[in-house]
Symmetry: C2
Subunit: 791 residues, 2 copies
């Protein structure tokens, strides 16, 4: 396991007690701030050293050519990649003519704290310059949840021992130098100098504005900054701007006890359509609104916003302070990725890094949105409205592929398919059923009828039509979906992938039901009775392969007849396998990158008996190497369901600590939104046993020995529900809203004013736990001691 | 069908009676001359206009990067591409200060004749300059079969009406300007200025030499020319050279009746190891040897060489003069591609164009070598010796892929894998069994024991080891080969492709048998008794899927359960399908690009009953679109075997006329060696019913009504055999060598001094012929009238 920052284990914050430049890049992702609209990596104020400088704007991308050694029909010609835009975080400091730089002089104290309730990142440094001058720097940064286009920094510098001369330079910097990356296909294509200057207007007293345009995609981006300065008498302020830099320079003499304080507001506006003038003005306006609120006002709004969020979303985990911290850290990042989405996508890394080129995948619908559905449902409507907004592109893609309905992209920012390897991209059509699943789950959890009609139905109809074009009834009448790729990326282009077929079956059924509920809207979409009959017929006849000899479901047809992977001959440093073995070999053998059949058992649990679930889980567990971060949480959920609580608990640790411990060694590229969501998923659907759908809500709490008490809150159909489980008892309480009917281990409960407590069944015995491939057991935990930092 | 040149139908030549610039590029491929070592496209002497200038040297390539939108383990990083080297064909002419150029002035007569017995291309032109001066130009060109490194041109220019002044410039030109190509993935990547000059030594009286080196691959290439000039008194000769041009200039005054005659010898030497001086000297030496032979000597040697070839290889087709011409044209090009190979590959286009980047594929072993095995066996030993020489590269590739033995490249010039799309490249492992098949067939036909021991055994052992690494015994004991691609490129990465499995089965069996015959050599290769037992076991247990419901063999597992391709919705201009539909859609449906199961029925006919052959053929025929030129001949062979002689005859036309009529509209990129071989294959193995293997040789002649007499000659185990069939009778005659035992429609014949005549069974009725996909019937013939030009 990689070295990780000295993060302290605290329930409501992530505290880094010393600066370690070896893991600086990783900490930049962990400490990233975002509201889903703007994202700032946790770069040091002074700009360098840095792992990767990052300022991201949701939906802003540059195009890059996608080359092919051998071209093919329907291959995307250009890809989209997230761009590091104008950096407004930069505040440089000169102390008695020496630049403040942690690589020089002596760092006596260096602490950074991400406060999950305040929504701020605070840094305090005590530093001596190479000549011995001590100075204290304190900065607090936020990206506002309430002012969508605004970020702000409060920066304070103070003489410690003796008077000194300081110069503070607060900047906007575009086209920052970035390091190129290695050959890992998963790392982003960084682009050099993506922004073309249109305007640079410095301003000493009011807003300074820079306007650029991306070179190829032609997206205009305006960045602005405005300052409040509180310094000793005689403080000089100047402003200048040229090229890609706009600068406010503050020079002053400081004595101990009278610091220089500076508040920097900065803001962004971007558009492919609006003029330079309009974009410029929009940023000036946002800065004016931010100054009207003031620093204290922004901080107070931020805390109120988060208080409200935690009131409806918090999870308490007694007995495991690491997981307690991690699940809140995860929920915080999920909220950051989605709070102010407003018809833009949630990328796999949120706005915390440039990994996967800033693309959104199916991860959003299958891992992130299920959590937000029950904790911050407004964001789910936003994220799915983005899918609705790209229906014309998805329809055009389906047409290009010779299909009908909508074929949503495997990976994208703006909506066009950006996958350059079709067997693991375009062929992974399950993304369409995944979107339908998120719609179905959101509508079930919210009863949001207008969303269902205006956003849900078009998504369900388009995807149902796609499944009709992708499948066919064979001579025996079975409905087959051939030659597609399921979630497991170590198989591709297979027949009757169980996950895909079951998700498509649900997609087809729900589309028909929803069309029946909204006949006028369905008619407007051209849906006919013949069509919905065809959907129901296809769903009813859906092929679900089963291996009678082994008594398990093959992940796809013939999977269980393939050669097993030779795990004995695979060395520990040959993981992830895709970097050391050819796809052809992975595809043709029994080896699983990530939960696939097991994910089907979670999302379509109704299609499997308890016995099948246990046998299937036991079959796939020794084949699953978890070379994807999208696996541990699903394995944990089914492990818990079939009674392997110890194993589930170990997977919980892996999912929850993915980024805080950098388990996959790529947190530098941004945090893993789906894995962060996974911590919640394991606790609530794994140990809480929550299942919801078709108007039914149920729980089946089963706690592992390590967790002495688990409490979580959920929003469901306008109500706020609290569930608190110990080994013996579960207590359900309605905190807000109308009464709810739910089940506890299958027994129905009507929950109204009174809280209801029910005994839990005894914990299942922990014998007979299945094994993983050698060396691929769940990641070991560093420590289980309470209240201590991890190292 | 595309317009084609006005080629006259003549039995022993291809005569073009007028020049049509619209099909100039196509004619350059048809009129290409080669000896397998050097290849010259049929470019006009004066260099322009041209379709594509082409001078190719076998094994000389440049590297180009293979880019990937998403990289993957084991993907080749660079590709190899054939290079247009220094052009020695150029002879420019100035007539009274006006350049001789067919695009200006008036072309009164223009004839080109490729003489299949002389091995020369002759051109005669009567041309008026724009000012009305008439001149006659006659040139004859050859690439010597007997002087491996030498080509020569005899060039004559004559005043017709009045005295005139002419200047002839004979040149060597490197780095000629070439047009770039379209996006068709099948066309070659042309490289601009691939040659870096090392030396340019003009010479007026002796050899002029230019030495270059390829920019990236670093292959040194020397070109030289030497002249004999016969002109009127006062003829001036000068030489100069600079940059990439070396020039001999001849100026003279001509009166009618006293032409200027010039013989140009030119030669090439290339090597990655030899020094500039050595390469230079080698070309000077080759030119000296050519001048020693003289023009007449070269021509006489050329004819003797071809007389000998035709004596052992000719095919006579009475009743179809078009096919008569085409089969000889095909044999001539096959000989040209292979005559002086000497451990170099036979590319898919020979040395006639830059199509497919000049790469060699499995086409060589499965279509070209079977013809040469019985007509010019020495070349087969050469071609397979090239495979033997790249065993170390194939072994390294197998290791890289995590396999054992040898993994030969899908496409290459030098031996490294150059395929940039693995599902239709690396995954097509059948190329390895195809090589083993060619070895097996050659050894069976020649009894060449030293080849078997030194070349055949290492190839058989390496490929058998590969099949052991690629397959596995499933729990029921069946030997499965999963996740590979068969010949049909409209399916990929499938389980138990019948063709692959049957060819691997033969590969494994023959490897074990051959190792037993050469125990010492086998031991040197590390072959153990355990290993050969494993080969035999795998062969015996080989899985061959069969669809009991339909009573046919699925091309691969589950193929017959896939959706049929929607031919009704496919428009005529959507062929070839790969340019209009995504691979994902082609792969998942029942649509066949080229014979696959049907090819298995030809090469492994012993594995199918007659009833299966008929049913399988009837099943696949309506699914096979023949978007590949590697299909018609195989379909013809099986059509003939199962009794559809009319259909076989129509496929014969398509295979035979592929290039003479430019049926696939890409003869510009070079002639289709495999399809040209196909004409012979249809006549000899289809209508002649020839099958050979395991020491047995049989014939089963069945002629279609259009062919009144079919005669062919074969070399077999040191003998020369003649087979002559009419509708009623077949006559077998031993022309040279020891007695042969053969079968005629299953009846054994011992053939010695006396010729043997046997009656043929009656022609089968022509009813019940299977249909092809709509619009994909065999190409219609333009004319069946005899002795006329086609248009």
């Amino acid at each position: 396991m990689i070295r990780h920052p000295a993060f302290a284990i605290e329930p409501w914050s992530v505290r880094e007690r010393r600066l370690d430049l070896d893991v600086l890049a990783q900490s930049e992702s962990v400490f990233a701030l975002s509201n889903g609209h703007i994202g700032l990596r946790g770069n040091l104020d002074e700009g360098e050293p840095h792992g990767e400088p990052g300022t991201y704007l949701n939906g802003l991308y540059e195009l890059r050519p996608l080359p092919y050694a051998e071209a093919g029909y329907g291959y995307p010609e250009s890809g989209q990649t997230v761009v590091n835009v104008t950096n407004g975080k930069v505040i440089r400091l000169l102390v008695n003519d020496e630049p403040f730089d942690v690589r020089y002089g002596t760092v006596h104290e260096h602490e950074r704290v991400l406060d999950l309730r305040a929504g701020t990142l605070t840094r305090t440094v005590l530093w001596s310059s190479p000549t011995g001058t001590r100075v204290r720097v304190t900065s607090t940064r936020l990206v506002s949840f309430t002012h969508r286009a605004v970020a702000a920094i409060r920066y304070e510098v103070e003489a410690v021992d003796e008077p000194l001369r300081v110069v503070v330079q607060s900047e906007l910097v575009a086209n920052e130098t970035q390091e190129t990356t290695d050959d890992d296909p998963r790392a982003a294509a960084r682009l050099r100098s993506p922004l073309v200057l249109e305007e640079n207007v410095p301003n000493k007293n009011g807003p300074a504005i820079m306007v650029h345009r991306t070179r190829v995609s032609g997206i205009r981006v305006a960045a602005g900054m405005s300052h409040e300065i509180d310094g000793p008498d005689g403080t000089l302020v100047d402003a200048d701007g040229s090229g890609d830099v706009s600068r406010l320079t503050v020079a002053t003499n400081l004595a101990p006890g009278r610091p220089l304080r500076l508040v920097k507001y900065f803001s962004y506006g971007w558009s492919v359509r609006r003029s330079r003038a309009a974009t410029h003005d929009q940023v000036v306006a946002a800065l004016a609104a931010a100054r009207l609120a003031g620093w204290d006002g922004l901080c107070a709004d931020q805390r109120r916003f988060l208080d409200d969020f935690w009131n409806g979303a918090d999870v308490e985990v007694e007995g495991d302070p690491e997981v307690q911290q991690a699940v809140r850290f995860g929920l915080f990042h999920l909220l950051q990725s989605a709070a102010r989405l407003e018809e833009r996508p949630i990328p796999a890394k949120g706005l915390t890094g440039s990994g996967y080129d800033g693309h959104a995948f199916w991860d959003t619908e299958i891992f992130v949105l299920p959590v937000l559905t029950y904790t911050y449902p407004r964001a789910v409507a936003d994220a799915l409205s983005w899918r609705r907004s790209i229906v014309p592109l998805a329809r055009a893609r389906a047409t290009q592929l010779g299909l009908h309905g909508t074929a949503f992209p495997w990976r994208t920012i703006h909506g066009e398919e950006c996958s350059g390897y079709w067997p693991a991209g375009t062929a992974a059509f399950h993304v369409n059923a995944d979107i339908a699943h998120a719609v179905t789950q959101y509508v079930d959890a919210t009863d949001d009828t207008s969303f269902e009609r205006e956003t849900g139905l078009p998504l369900l109809v388009g995807t149902a039509r796609l499944w009709c074009a992708l499948g066919h009834h064979d001579p025996a009448g079975r409905y087959r979906i051939d030659g597609v790729t399921g979630p497991d990326e170590y198989s591709a282009v297979v027949d009757n992938n169980v996950y895909t077929n079951l998700m498509a079956q649900q997609n087809l059924r729900v589309a028909a039901e929803t069309a029946a509920r909204h006949p006028d809207e369905a008619e407007r979409l051209g849906v006919t009775a013949e069509e919905t009959t065809a959907w129901r017929d296809a769903a009813a006849a859906m092929s679900v392969p089963y291996d009678e000899d082994l008594g398990v479901h093959p992940q796809h047809e013939a999977f269980t007849q393939h050669a097993p992977w030779d795990f004995a001959a695979t060395k520990p440093d040959q993981y992830p396998l895709l970097l050391h073995f050819p796809y052809f070999d992975l595809y043709r053998k029994q080896v699983v990158k990530q939960a696939d059949l097991v994910l089907a058992m979670h999302l379509r649990g109704d299609a499997f008996t308890a016995e099948h679930k246990a046998r299937n889980f036991a079959y796939y567990e020794p084949l699953t190497v978890r070379d994807s971060s999208l696996s541990a949480c699903t394995q944990a959920v089914i492990a818990a369901e079939v009674g392997h609580l110890d194993l589930a608990y170990r997977y919980l640790g892996e999912a929850a600590l993915m980024d805080l411990e950098d388990l996959e060694k790529n947190t530098v590229d941004g945090v893993h939104m789906a894995s962060l969501a996974g911590a919640w998923i394991v606790l609530v659907t794994g140990f809480g046993g929550m299942r919801a759908g078709q108007g039914r809500l149920g729980f089946a709490p089963k706690l592992p020995p390590e967790i002495t008490r688990l409490a979580f809150r959920l929003r469901y159909r306008g109500s706020l529900l609290s569930v608190t489980a110990t080994e013996e008892t579960t207590t359900y309480e309605l905190l807000e809203g109308p009464p709810i009917t739910l089940t506890h281990h299958g027994d129905q409960i009507r929950l109204d004013r009174e809280s209801v407590a029910r005994p839990n069944p005894p914990r299942p015995p922990s014998n007979g736990q299945p094994r993983q491939p050698p060396g691929r057991e769940p990641a070991a935990r560093h420590t289980k001691s309470k209240g201590h930092k991890r190292r």
